[in-house]
Structure formats: C-alpha cells, structure tokens
C-alpha cells in the first residue's frame, strides 16, 4: 500500500478516526490499534512476509528481556546479543544477496531491531517488557517500509506515553504530507521517467542530454526519497509521534561531510553510531589514515546495504574517496557558512555518484561517464513535450526556492508564520492543483521501498 494511493488514504482515514475517537481511552488500546494497523498495512497485497516481521519481533523482544536478566555485559548477554545480530544480519544477507526477492521493509526494521539490542548492550535503554510497545516500535507503519529508521531511544518512550491530539502538530503533519506528495508526484515521478529514458539510451545521446539526465536523476532520487520521508513523518505526526528527520535540504550542503549529515539522516546516524564511531575508536592510533579507513569501511557497508549490485559498492567507495581531502585538511567536522560555489560543487559531485547508483552495471556507468565528458555538451537534444517539461522544471525551481527560503525549518511547507489564513489556503490549493494536474503517465513505486 503506497502512501500515494487511494487505498492508503482510505486506510489512514479509518485508522485516524478509530485512533483518536475509539481507541483513545488508554495507551494500551492505542498501541494495540497501532500494531494491528501496522500489520494490516504490511500484509496488504502480500502477507507472506508478515510471519518474518512478527517472528523477528518475538525473537528480538525475548532476547532483549533475556539480556536484561543475564546482565548486558555478561558472557550470556554477549551471546544473546550475537544471536540477535546474527539473525538480523543473516536475514539481510540472505534476502539481499541470495534470493531474487526482498521482503518489504526488511532493511529498515532489521536496523531498528539491531539498534534496540545494541542500545540495551550500551546501557542507553532498558529492555521493554511491554510486547505491544516493542512490536509496535518495529512495525510502526508510517516508517515500516522505507524509514526513517528511528532509534529505540527516540520512538519507544513515545509509545509508552498516551498520545493526545495536538492541533499544531497534526496540521503541520498535513502540510508535510502535501509537500511530500508534491515532491513525489510532480517532480520525482516525472524526473524518474525522463532520466530512465536517458539512462536507457545513453549510447545514442549527446553529452548535453546525459548531463540533463544526470541532473534529473539526482532530483528524482532526492524528491522520491525525501518526498516519501516527508509523508512518513507527516503521517506519524497526525497520530501523535515525532519521528527522526531524514533529510535536511542536502543539496544545499557545503561539502560531502555536510551532505551526509543532511541526506538519509537516520541511516547515516545509525551507521555513524554503530559502525563508524567504533571503527574510528579502534583505529585511533593510526591518525588520519585510521579515520580514512573507518570512513571507507563505513561507506562500503552503506553502499552494500542498498543491495548486491556492484554499482552500490562503487557508489559507497566513491563517496568514501570524496572524504579524503576533508580528512587530510582536518575540515571533516568544520562548520561554516560555505559559498555558492562550494554548494554547487558538492551538488555536482553527488550528482555524478548518483549516475553509478542508477546505472544497471559498472560497465554502463563507465560508458555514461565516458560520453558525459567526451561528447558535445552543447549539442541540442530532443525533448518530447517541451511545454510539460518546462512546467516540471519550473516546479523543480520552486522546490529549491522554497527549500532555500525555509532552510531553517523542518520542511519547506512549514508556513505557520504566514498568519493570514487565505494566503495559506491559496498556497495549499496551488500545490494540490499541481499534484492533481502534473502527475506522470504511470504511478511509480518509491525507490527506497526496493531496498
């Protein structure tokens, strides 16, 4: 059930009314409904892997309790942790690398599961005894299939408290959903189709078309995934939850480190906490070389998280390479304003890595790069429907203008500062009309659902 489809809107409307009007008597009832709704959402269309989700939940829940009883630092606690991690990583590896199908959301809920056990080990959280809370944490439907990957310390305490409807939070959630819809339907789906055509025929096209395709591809990835995240966060806010922000206007990043602090934040945070930081500590005696090594391992794993294709591996390696100058100059964590050139340069570098991300193989990616830099970059190329294309390109300009103006906010449509209601209504109406008018020929899946 995609966030952009009629069945989801109907499901959510029914869920919302039940949640706030029927099951609002106690926290237990709210959580039970949340769990039932999450399982219903997950099983819609194909319920085969619900057993996997439920089974993983049972195992992790029991391991958490047993770890708490055995003592988290004890040998038994370590063994239990290893069992949990082996199960999570084993399933991830098996389904990503040895089968042709991937259970929906596996990559995301497995990371939540592992962070739960690791945080118990670190003493950051206590194992929860309430199975409904824990199961709801893993299966929390707005974030189940493509994140954000909420860490247990952030989401479980919210599940343990009774939610009370907050008008401000809910209306801002609606705005974020609308903004996410605009990004997904108007921008991502159209850019995805056009860039797909260019990537599919890159051998016959001039360099100018390939630069255009690379640009559209970067916009597609961003608008698709951040649009999804906006909707996930928005729906969560409608039912009283604040989940982790996943994007912080990444195309305004000043350098590659800044980019990764803004792109897929929940995954980056996860990797930083559980992979990079332990590695950096482990390699601390090797100075800058140790940091570079930790970064490389981190990005290789991050690339491989996306799937078994070599393109993802090289995507990670290339990003790791981008970090080397920052490490050598000691500016990895330096914060500054940065200028337009730095932002533009970062965007171009990232855009070039997305060429690998999108290509079917490394051979195709290298071919694309080759034509990008050797054939004419000023040649004219054919655009199928120039008027419609211009409208979508204008919407991309609108997207960036709004995000730049609102860069200090949580999302670009956080316009609670606009006090005059008719103006707000006009803005909403324009966005709704754009969504209704300029969608693509065919509704596309969210790209990160495939991971």
């Amino acid at each position: 059930m995609l966030f952009t489809t009629g069945p989801f809107f109907l499901f959510f409307a029914a869920f919302f009314l039940l949640y706030w009007f029927v099951f609002n008597k106690s926290i237990r009832w709210q959580n039970l409904l949340l769990l039932a709704g999450s399982y219903f959402f997950y099983a819609w269309g194909d319920g085969r892997f619900l057993v996997l989700l439920a089974g993983s939940s049972v195992l992790t829940y029991l391991l958490g309790i047993l770890m708490g009883r055995a003592g988290v630092k004890s040998i038994a606690g370590t063994v239990l942790l290893c069992v949990g991690l082996a199960q999570g990583l084993g399933f991830l590896l098996y389904f990503k690398y040895f089968t042709s199908f991937l259970p929906l959301g596996l990559s995301f809920y497995t990371f939540k599961m592992m962070s739960y056990l690791l945080d118990i080990r670190k003493g950051k959280i206590q194992p929860t005894r309430d199975w409904v809370v824990f199961f709801s944490y893993l299966a929390f439907f707005p974030c189940l299939v493509a994140g954000p990957i909420d860490q247990p310390g952030a989401l479980i305490p919210q599940l343990e408290k009774k939610r009370v409807f907050n008008y401000g939070q809910a209306s801002d959630g609606m705005r974020q959903i609308l903004w996410g819809l605009f990004k997904k339907v108007v921008i991502a789906d159209n850019c995805g189709v056009w860039s797909g055509q260019i990537f599919g025929h890159y051998r016959e096209l001039p360099g100018s078309a390939l630069w255009y395709g690379a640009f559209l591809n970067a916009i597609w990835l961003y608008a698709d995934f951040s649009g999804y995240s906006d909707m996930a966060i928005g729906y969560s806010r409608l039912i009283g939850f604040n989940v982790t922000r996943n994007f912080n206007f990444p195309f305004f990043a000043r350098n590659i480190a800044d980019f990764w602090r803004r792109w897929h934040i929940s995954l980056t945070n996860w990797m930083t906490e559980y992979v990079f930081t332990p590695l950096a500590i482990y390699f601390r005696n090797y100075g800058k070389a140790g940091i570079v090594l930790a970064i490389f391992i981190n990005f290789i794993l991050l690339g491989m998280w996306h799937g078994p294709h070599r393109t993802f591996l090289y995507f990670g390696i290339l990003h790791g390479c981008y970090f080397i100058p920052l490490v050598l100059r000691g500016t990895l964590n330096k914060k500054g304003r940065g200028n337009g050139f730095a932002r533009m340069g970062t965007f171009v570098l990232v855009m070039l890595t997305f060429v690998i991300f999108r290509s079917e193989s490394m051979h195709a990616a290298v071919g694309y790069y080759h034509r990008l830099f050797t054939t004419s970059v000023v040649a004219r190329f054919y655009i199928e429907d120039p008027v419609f294309t211009s409208i979508v390109l204008a919407c991309i300009v609108l997207l960036f203008a709004a995000e730049w103006l609102q860069r200090d906010k949580q999302h670009a449509l956080q316009i609670d500062g606009v006090k005059w209601f008719p103006v707000r209504v006009l803005i909403y109406a324009c966005l709704i009309l754009l969504v209704l008018t300029y969608g693509p020929i065919k509704n596309a899946d969210f790209i990160y659902i495939k991971f």
Binding site: Y167, I432, I441
Partner: protein, 300 residues
Amino acid sequence: MRRGIGSFLLKTAFFVLAVLGLFEILYRRGVWPIISQSALYDHKMIRLQQEPVKKVKIMAMGSSLTLYELNSEMIVHNFPLPYYNFGSWNLQVSDIYPILKELVKEYRPEYVIMCSSVGDFMKPTDSVFQNFTNTNRFIRRHFPEFFYFRDYHSLRQLFDRKENGYLIDTDPWGGAFFTMKTINRAKWDMRLDFPTPYTAIQYRTLDSLCGWLQGQKVKLVYVQAPMKASYITTPAEQATITTHFDTCRSMVEGHGGVYLNYHNTAIFADSLFFDQWHLQASGGVVLTKELVADLKTIIK
C-alpha cells in the same frame, strides 16, 4: 482535545470536499475517469451507468469483432428480445470472461453472442479491464466518479483522453461499424503468428467461460468471424486455423453452446475486409445476415 481535532477535521474536510467537487465538475463536463487503456471501453461502461440499459435478453459480448461485425439494427429487427452489444476494443478471452460474468449477473440474458477469432487468443490478460467490474455495483452505478481515485490519473491525462482519445459513435444498442480512416497497416496486416505463449491460457479461459454460462443456463452462441483469404495462404497457416476452429468448437459444443463458423472465403471476399480479420461495414451486414438466418433456429 476534541475541539482541536474537530477544527482539524473541519479544515481537512474543506480541502477534501474541494477536490471532490472539482472532480464532480469534471465528470459533469464529460472529462470522464480513465479506467483502462481502451477509451471506448471506459466510455461505454460509464455511459451505461448514466443511461442504464434496463433489460438485455440477447447480449453481445466480446472484442472489436463483436463490436464491429454485428449489425445491431438487423438483429433487433429480426428478434423481438431486448439486445445490447457490450463489445469493445483490445479484449482477450481472459479479459472478456470476468466482465461477462458480471454483466450476466446484472442483466440475466438468455443468449450471449460472442463473435471471435484468433486475435482474441493471442495476448496476455490485462487485469485493468476488471477494475470496473470488480468495483461494487452500487458504487459503479451511482458514483462512477470513484474511478478518478481508484487509480491515479492526472488532470492532464484526463483532458488529453477527452480531447485526443479515439472514440466512435455507437448505435443505440452499443454496436458500431468500422469507420476508421487511417490505420497502421504494418501492425494491422501483420502475418499470422499463432499460437502465441498466451494461447493456451486463453483456451482454458474459453472453456471455463462456456462451462460457466452453461451453469447459468445462458445459451452461448459463439461466432467464428471470417478471416481474409489472403491472410491464410500457406498449408501450415490453414492447418493452424483449422486446429483453432476445432478447439473452440469442441469447447463450446461440449458445454451446450452453439458454434457457428463463418470463415468462408467464397462469401467473404477480401474486398469486404478492412484488415486481416475486421470486416468493413458492408462485410458486417453480410455476416449479420448469415448469422440472423442461423439464429432464427436457435433463438425462440
């Protein structure tokens, strides 16, 4: 809390109603929802909701062959039973079957005439056609606007379908004559490439269709449409279509249906055809005349 949520729901309802209102206006102005890739199928199905056909005792249902090759006036003139042609473009047997089931349940006809040929046994099923019949009859009849939301189509696509979608004027009984001026000859006159990987499933579906109609006590009249003589030239092609005729005949007759084969190159000269198997209007008249003569012994 309740006041907060009441105000929130009120404002949300305002926007939802505005969107619904917009689509209602579009519907009333003839910018109809897109149900399938066949503009004609969608048009016919929605028009049937607006101007419901009350009684149908002789139901014609099938692909473009049923649509174009049965002359409605001749059938209506010869048989005093209510008649309607539900045929449309692009339907394969496996598309026809679920739609037919729904139509039979709704109209309870006594006879179903299905004019068909090898073209209906060549492609995979397109489940999109069932979007209409799978929808609750009450919603279909009273709220066809629902289809705007069942599958997302942008306003741009809806207007494009209205302006550029190829539609034909059907007669009051749903039939039509082939009046297309220009066609893609390379596509329409392609050589016989039959059977295809999808033919077996289409045969199985025909068998089920015949069995189901028998169970419903509805008489199936399966009309094998003629094919252009110049289309079937080699002995291998002749053998292929003979096998096809035999297969269909055994399925139809095996379930108590009537199988009528009009593939007769002496009667249906090449000049009566528009392409390899679609008859022109004059060809449709010849076929219907033959059919009516045979139906007189079947339809009482």
